[in-house]
């Protein structure tokens, strides 16, 4: 194309066409990816009295194939924050790597300053939005849970860069199936925060519901806890499920459930 300038001195092609930066060289590797490969499903999180609990299953799906059944989608960042990732697993690994670099950098500086949950959440939001703006997103919803100076922190960032803090968080199918249950639980508790035991019961119940209904989920889950005592992630364990309800379902009409 020849460089045609209009009367105002602007390059006509630049005005009306996509910026040249978006054109990929035809002989090079694909550098903008708009589809995930190995994915994780929902991540749930709820604040309790003294910290934050997160839950996620350990499945990495490859489309409809339940390919990797022992992935850890809840990971600590330093000793006061846990991040949970749904969506593309390799992007989650990349994100966790970036966050870990921040923690390591603090350790090397050794000057008393730490990376706080707010910093992690804000940083991620900026990164995710920037990637989205370049049409090269990190295909994730990342839950950031932390505990600092006696206060809990819980927030989420998605692949568009949307970010917010809330007392209960769910990603993926969890948004539709688990979030109503979680919201009801904290509303019923009123002003009083949930106890850890109640929070755990709530999360396990929701994970069970998700296993029944989310076709890309697994009943092998992990629970992560961030509290004043630090961060801990359980070993994966199996949730018992009961399919007996199927016995009592009326078969009056084809396809009824």
């Amino acid at each position: 194309m020849f460089n045609t300038l209009n009367a105002q001195g602007y390059d006509v092609a630049e005005l009306y066409c996509a910026p040249r930066a978006l054109e990929a060289p035809s002989d090079g590797p694909r550098t903008r990816t708009l589809q995930p490969s190995v994915t994780g499903t929902s991540v749930l999180a709820v604040c309790y009295d003294g910290g934050v609990l997160l839950a996620a299953d350990t499945l990495g799906s490859y489309g409809s194939l339940a390919r990797f059944k022992s992935l850890s989608r809840l990971r600590p960042v330093g000793d006061s924050v846990v991040v949970g990732g749904s969506g593309d697993y390799s992007d989650f690994q990349h994100i966790h790597g970036m966050l870990d670099d921040m923690v390591v950098s603090d350790l090397c500086r050794d000057d008393g300053h730490e990376t706080t949950p707010t910093m992690i959440h804000s940083y991620l939001a900026r990164v995710m939005y920037q990637r989205r703006s370049k049409q090269d997103p990190l295909w994730n919803s990342i839950v950031v849970a932390g505990r600092r100076r006696g206060a809990s922190y819980l927030g989420v960032v998605d692949k568009l860069g949307t970010s917010f803090e809330e007392r209960v968080i769910a990603t993926g199918y969890g948004q539709h199936l688990a979030l109503p249950l979680m919201r009801k639980a904290i509303d019923d508790a009123g002003d009083a925060p949930l106890s850890r035991a109640d929070a755990l019961k709530l999360l396990e119940h929701c994970m069970r519901v998700l296993f029944y209904r989310d076709a890309r989920s697994l009943n092998k889950i992990q629970i992560a806890d961030v509290s004043d005592d630090g961060v801990s992630v359980t070993e994966p364990y199996e949730l018992a499920t009961d399919w007996q309800f199927g016995e009592n379902v009326s078969h009056a009409a084809e396809g009824s459930w």
Binding site: R109, D111, G112, H113, T116, T118, M119, H121, S122, Y123, R126
Partner: protein, 222 residues
């Protein structure tokens, strides 16, 4: 110029280049939790102040929080060091006294052209800073327990000691600047009108030229 677990204060004396000139600005607000007092080449000071402000804004945007004071000071020091080692560059001709308040409390740091930076309980820089240092060393034990207003008084008294006894005016609202920042208080830079009450209430007067002989003034060497 001094700090305690909660607060840090700077007091600065402004001089005009000539009788016709306005006094040069000595104290700059960097962010709501940080300020600097400069001593040396003003143009170099402006450059570093711009760098620091930019860094603080950028940090707030990305991380949603105030920049840790010590980390920014280290960044300035590292930049200064580069200018002592790379071909074709000259060192920054300015020393900064940085006061700030962050998660770890109140701080006073000093940077210098050589690229070093130092953490202080109290410090004075610039021409005639030695008299101020003498005052600060004498009273350093009191700073930890002093409250905000007592710290400001200490700063003014230390500054007063730098004013020559015979042929200069003392501390006036026109030539003095105070900056204070600390726990629960964003940085405020006080000049002019805001200083009248503080200076009037200063015990022992504002130093400098006095009507009649006065032996109470500190005798400066040179």
């Amino acid at each position: 110029q001094r700090r305690v677990r909660g607060f840090a204060v700077i007091a600065a004396l402004k001089r005009a280049a000539s009788k016709l000139g306005e006094p040069q600005q000595k104290v700059f607000k960097i962010d709501s939790h940080m300020g600097v007092g400069v001593s040396g080449l003003c143009a170099d000071a402006q450059s570093l102040v711009k760098l620091m402000r930019s860094d603080c804004l950028d940090h707030r945007f990305v991380y949603g929080e105030a920049r840790a004071v010590g980390r920014l000071v280290e960044k300035v020091a590292n930049k200064s060091q580069v200018h002592t080692q790379k071909y074709g560059r000259r060192p920054y001709g300015v020393g900064l006294l940085v006061i700030g308040h962050d998660e770890l409390g109140a701080h006073v740091y000093e940077t210098s052209p050589d690229g070093n930076y130092y953490d202080y309980k109290a410090q004075a820089i610039g021409a005639r800073s030695q008299s101020a240092k003498t005052y600060l060393e004498k009273h350093v034990g009191e700073f930890a327990d002093a409250d905000r207003d007592a710290l400001i008084t200490h700063a003014l008294l230390a500054l007063r000691d730098t004013v020559g006894s015979k042929d200069e005016e003392g501390l006036t609202p026109r030539n003095t600047t105070i900056a204070v920042v600390g726990e629960g208080e964003s940085i405020s830079v006080l000049e002019g009108e805001a200083l009248v009450a503080l200076l009037d209430g200063l015990e022992g007067g504002t130093g400098g030229r006095k009507p009649g002989d006065d032996d109470d003034d500190v005798d400066l060497d040179g």
